[in-house]
Symmetry: C2
Subunit: 511 residues, 2 copies
C-alpha cells in the first residue's frame, strides 16, 4: 500500500494529476485514498499545532487554488471563448459575488439548500450567487434594461458534495452568453447555437452534437398523452434523466413515483425516444394524435421548424439534432432548449463519463426578469452557458497525457551574466529592454551561476538569452543565444533591443 510520502504527494496534486493517478490506479483505489487523505489531514495539522497556526493548512472544502499553469490554460480557453462572444457583438457586465438572499429565494427549487449564506453580522441578509442567470435577470429588472446581448464569465458557489475527483467543485466558473429583448421568433435563439458551435470548434475539443428541443412541444406531448397539467414539470424532470438512465428506469419513475398510468407513460415513451432532423418535425406535424390534441405541441413543432431552417442558414445542419428526450432540469425555460455533447471524449475522460459529456446548455426563459419587476414587466431572454470547468478538465488531462509543458510567462529574453559583478550591467540592459517594450527578466541574485541561468531559460521556455561577459562588454558586445538551438551571435551593446526584436520576428516566422 501507499505510505505517508505518497499520501502527502497526492494531497498536493492538482485535478489533472489526480485524474492521471485515478486512471493509473483505478477509480476505486483513488476514491479510498481520497477518504484517507481527508481523514489524515485533520490530525496531522493538530500535531504540528505548537506554532502560530493550529488549523489545517488547506483551502475550504470543495475549492482549490489555481497555480500558474492552470491559470495559463484557463486564460487560453477564456480568450478563445471571449473572441467568439466579441465576434457576435456581445458586451460584458459584472455583478457582485453576493446578492440579497431574497433575490435568490424561490429560483432554484430544492437546490436552494445548496446556496451559501453569509453570516448575519448586522445589516442585510446575503447569499453567494448560485449562477449568473438570476443576477442577470435582477440586473435587467433593476436597471430597466429592455435589450442587451451580454456575456459574463465569473465564479459561482454551490454547497454541493461534489465528486472532486471528477472535476466538480463548490466554487467554479460559469461562462454565460445571453440575448435579452423583444425580437422576432428564433433569430436570437439560433445565434446562441451558432456561438456554441464556433466556441467548440475553436477549442478543438473534437466532434460534438447540439441537441435541441422545445418546452412547448414537451408540454404538448404530455398534454396529448393525457398527463394532467400540474404534473408537466415533474414528468419533465423524469424525462430529463434519459441522458443518464435507460427508458425502463424513467418509465418506472413515471409510473411508481409520479403516478402516471403505464399506458400514458408508454405513449410518452414513444415520443421522447425520437430524434432526427427537420424531416422528423415535418412528420410529427402530420400526426393528428399529437398536433390535433395539443395546440402547444403544434406551436412547439412550428417553432422547431423555423429554428432548424435558421440553423441551416448558419451552417449548423450537421451539428444540430432535434432530440425529444432533451428536457433540461431548470423550471424557468419557456421555449427552445439545447445542450451540446462531445462525441469522442479524450481517453482519460472515458472511464468517468462513458464517452459522452454535456459541455454547454441553455434555452429560452421569457418570464424570469418579470419575477423581479415590480410591474411584472417581462424581458424575453435566451442564452447559453458554456461548461468551462469541463473544458479545463479535458484540456488539462490532454496536456498531461501529451507531457507537453505549458508556458506560464511570456518572457522573450533573459539577461544573464557570465561572470561575477555584472549585476548593474544586467539591470541597465533590462531597463533598456523594458523601455523598448520587450519582455525581459534577470536573476534576483547578485552573482548567479551561468549554467543555472541558462537552465532556467530552458525550464521556462524563454526563447532568447542575452549573455553579458566582461571581455565582451569591453569590446562593446553582447552575446545573444537562441536557447533551443544554443546558437549564439554577437551584437553591439547599443543594439541589443533591436537585435532581440529581429531574432524574435525571425523565430516566429520560422514556426
Amino acid at each position: 500500500m501507499l505510505g505517508g510520502g505518497a499520501l502527502r504527494l497526492l494531497a498536493i496534486l492538482d485535478l489533472s494529476a489526480r485524474r492521471w493517478v485515478a486512471n493509473s490506479l483505478g477509480p476505486q483505489v483513488v476514491e479510498e485514498l481520497s477518504h484517507v487523505l481527508d481523514v489524515k489531514a485533520q490530525p496531522r495539522a493538530a500535531e504540528d499545532g505548537a506554532g502560530p497556526h493550529r488549523f489545517t493548512l488547506k483551502t475550504p472544502k470543495g475549492t482549490r487554488d489555481y497555480g500558474p499553469s492552470q491559470m495559463a490554460i484557463r486564460a487560453d480557453v477564456l480568450n478563445k471563448i471571449i473572441s467568439v462572444f466579441k465576434r457576435h457583438g456581445a458586451e460584458t457586465i459584472d455583478t457582485p459575488i453576493f446578492e440579497l438572499k431574497e433575490v435568490l429565494t424561490g429560483k432554484y427549487g430544492e437546490d436552494s439548500k445548496l446556496i451559501y449564506d453569509l453570516a448575519d453580522q448586522g445589516g442585510e441578509i446575503l447569499s453567494l450567487r448560485y449562477d449568473l442567470t438570476v443576477p442577470f435577470a435582477r440586473y435587467l429588472a433593476m436597471n430597466k434594461i429592455s435589450n442587451i446581448k451580454r456575456y459574463h464569465i465569473a465564479k459561482v458557489y454551490r454547497r454541493d458534495n461534489p465528486a472532486m475527483m471528477r472535476g466538480r467543485y463548490r466554487e467554479f466558473y460559469q461562462c454565460d452568453f445571453d440575448i435579452a429583448g423583444h425580437y422576432d421568433p428564433m433569430i436570437p435563439d439560433v445565434e446562441c447555437i451558432r456561438v456554441v458551435s464556433e466556441i467548440l470548434t475553436s477549442l478543438q475539443l473534437g466532434d460534438f452534437l447540439i441537441k435541441v428541443n422545445h418546452r412547448q412541444l414537451l408540454d404538448g406531448i404530455f398534454e396529448a398523452c393525457g398527463v394532467p397539467s400540474d404534473k408537466f414539470r415533474t414528468v419533465c424532470s423524469s424525462v430529463d434523466k434519459l441522458d443518464k438512465s435507460p427508458w425502463e428506469e424513467v418509465r418506472n419513475e413515471m409510473v411508481n413515483e409520479k403516478g402516471l398510468s403505464p399506458e400514458v407513460a408508454d405513449q410518452i415513451g414513444e415520443y421522447v425516444c425520437l430524434s432526427g432532423k427537420i424531416e422528423l418535425v415535418e412528420r410529427l406535424l402530420q400526426e393528428e394524435m399529437l398536433v390535433g390534441m395539443s395546440r402547444s405541441a403544434h406551436d412547439g413543432l412550428e417553432a422547431m421548424k423555423l429554428f432548424l431552417k435558421y440553423c441551416a442558414l448558419y451552417g449548423l445542419q450537421d451539428q444540430v439534432s432535434f432530440d425529444l428526450s432533451l428536457a433540461r432540469g431548470l423550471d424557468y425555460y419557456t421555449g427552445v432548449i439545447y445542450e451540446a455533447v462531445l462525441l469522442n471524449d479524450t481517453k482519460t475522460e472515458q472511464g468517468e463519463t462513458g464517452g459522452v459529456g454535456s459541455i454547454a446548455g441553455g434555452g429560452r426563459y421569457d418570464n424570469l426578469v418579470g419575477m423581479f419587476d415590480p410591474k411584472h414587466k417581462n424581458v424575453p431572454c435566451v442564452g447559453v452557458s458554456i461548461g468551462v470547468e469541463r473544458v479545463f478538465s479535458v484540456l488539462e488531462a490532454r496536456l498531461l497525457n501529451s507531457r507537453a509543458k505549458v508556458r506560464t510567462t511570456e518572457v522573450e529574453v533573459f539577461v544573464a551574466s557570465a561572470q561575477k559583478n555584472l549585476l548593474e550591467h544586467r539591470m541597465q540592459l533590462c531597463k533598456e529592454l523594458w523601455d523598448a517594450n520587450i519582455k525581459a527578466e534577470h536573476s534576483y541574485k547578485r552573482n548567479p551561476k551561468l549554467l543555472a541561468q541558462l537552465q532556467y531559460c530552458e525550464d521556462m521556455g524563454i526563447p532568447l538569452a542575452a549573455i553579458l561577459g566582461e571581455s565582451e562588454l569591453a569590446r562593446g558586445i553582447v552575446k545573444l543565444r537562441k536557447v533551443v538551438t544554443r546558437q549564439e551571435i554577437e551584437v553591439e551593446r547599443e543594439n541589443v533591443a533591436q537585435a532581440v526584436r529581429d531574432l524574435l520576428t525571425e523565430t516566429n516566422e520560422q514556426r
Copy 2:
C-alpha cells in the same frame, strides 16, 4: 429642491455620474441626497410589494453592478497593467474567494471586524478574503513554494462603511504583484517600483511620485529618540497619519494618546518631516545621534542607499523620493515600504483628495509566510498593490468630462437590409463574415427599418455597414457604407468578407 424624478435618476447613476453631480451641486448637497436615497429606497419597494418580489430591488450595501461601459474601461486598464506584469515575466494565480476563517485571524489587527463571515451551515467556518496578500502567503506555505513572481487581480471584501460617493466600496478589485524568494538585497524590491512606474506611465494618469522609506529605519529613529520598543508599532501608526494630518496633530496623538514625552515626540518630528534623494541618506548616515544610537537605523539607511542606487539604474531617480514620513499602516512590513501618489489629479478629483491621492503601495514582508508554515519556515516577499479602483474612478471621471463615448463592443460590420423579407440573406452573409473571423451582427427583427439600423451603427460606433437591397442582390452586388463618412461603395456579393477586411485595414491605417 430636487423632486422624485431627480431622485430616481440619481439612484440609477453610476459612480462617475454621481461624482459629476457631486461636482456640480457640491459635496454637501449630494451627501444629503445620498441619505435621502437610502431612506427612500426601502418604503418605495414595500409599496410595490404586491407582486412576486417583496424586497428592495438593489445590490447589497456597498456593492454595485458594472455595466458594459464600466467593464470596457476596466478591461482596458487591466490589460495595460497585465502587459506590464508580463513584461516583467510574472505568472498569475487565483485562490478561492473564501478562506478558512482561521487563515485570516490575527492578520489585520483591529480591522478584523470588517471581515465578512459566511453563515455556519454545518462544516467549516469560512470568511471572504479581505485582501490578496494573506491568501498568497497561505498558498505559498501550503504548496511549499519557495519562489515565485506572480500577479493576482481579483475582488476582495470589507464590511466597511465606505463613502461610496468617494468611490469606496465593500466589494472591490485588488491588483497585486509580488516577488517571493530568498534573493539578494533590494534587487526584487526595486523591480516592484519599476513596475509601478511603468504602469502609471502606461495609464497616462499624469505626473506621479513614488515615496519610499524603510521599516528598519523608522524603528531605528524611534529607538534613537528613546521610544520603548513595545511602542514602535503604535507610534508608527501615528506617523502613518502624516499624509493626511499636520505634524501638530500627530504630535498631540503621540504625546496624549501614545504616552510619549514632548521631547521624544519633537525629536521624532525632526526626522519624519525630512524627505529628499540619496544625498539625504548620505547625510543621515553621518549623524552620530542616529546611526550611533541605533544599529537598526544604520542598516535601514544602508539599505535605502542601495535601493536608491538601483532605482537610478532602472531610470527611476526622478520619480522616487526618500520620505521619512512614509510609514504604511500594515504591521507585517519588515523592510522597504513605498507608496505612489498622483501629483496633479484630474479636476473632478481635486475637491475630494486635495489634489493628491495614493494610487499604489506596498513593501517587503518577510515573516508572513512563516505564520502559516508548521515549521515557521519563512519565504521573504516584496510586493505592490495597484489601486485599480482609484484608477477606474479617475478615468471614468475624465471620460465623463470629455463627453467621449466608450465603445462597448468590437463589431466591425453591421449587416443591414434596405427592404423587407431579406432576413435570410442577412443571416447568410453574417455566417460568411463569422466564418471569415469578422466581427459582425445584424438586427434580431425580421424587417427592421433601414434608418434604425444605421442609427444603431452610429450609436455603437460600428465602422461599416453592409447594406442588402433587392435590386443590388439581383445584380450580385452589396453596398458597403462607411458609417462616419456615409460614403458607400458597391462590392460583389461573393467578395464582401474580403472587401470588409480591406476597408477595415484602410480605415485603421488612416488613424
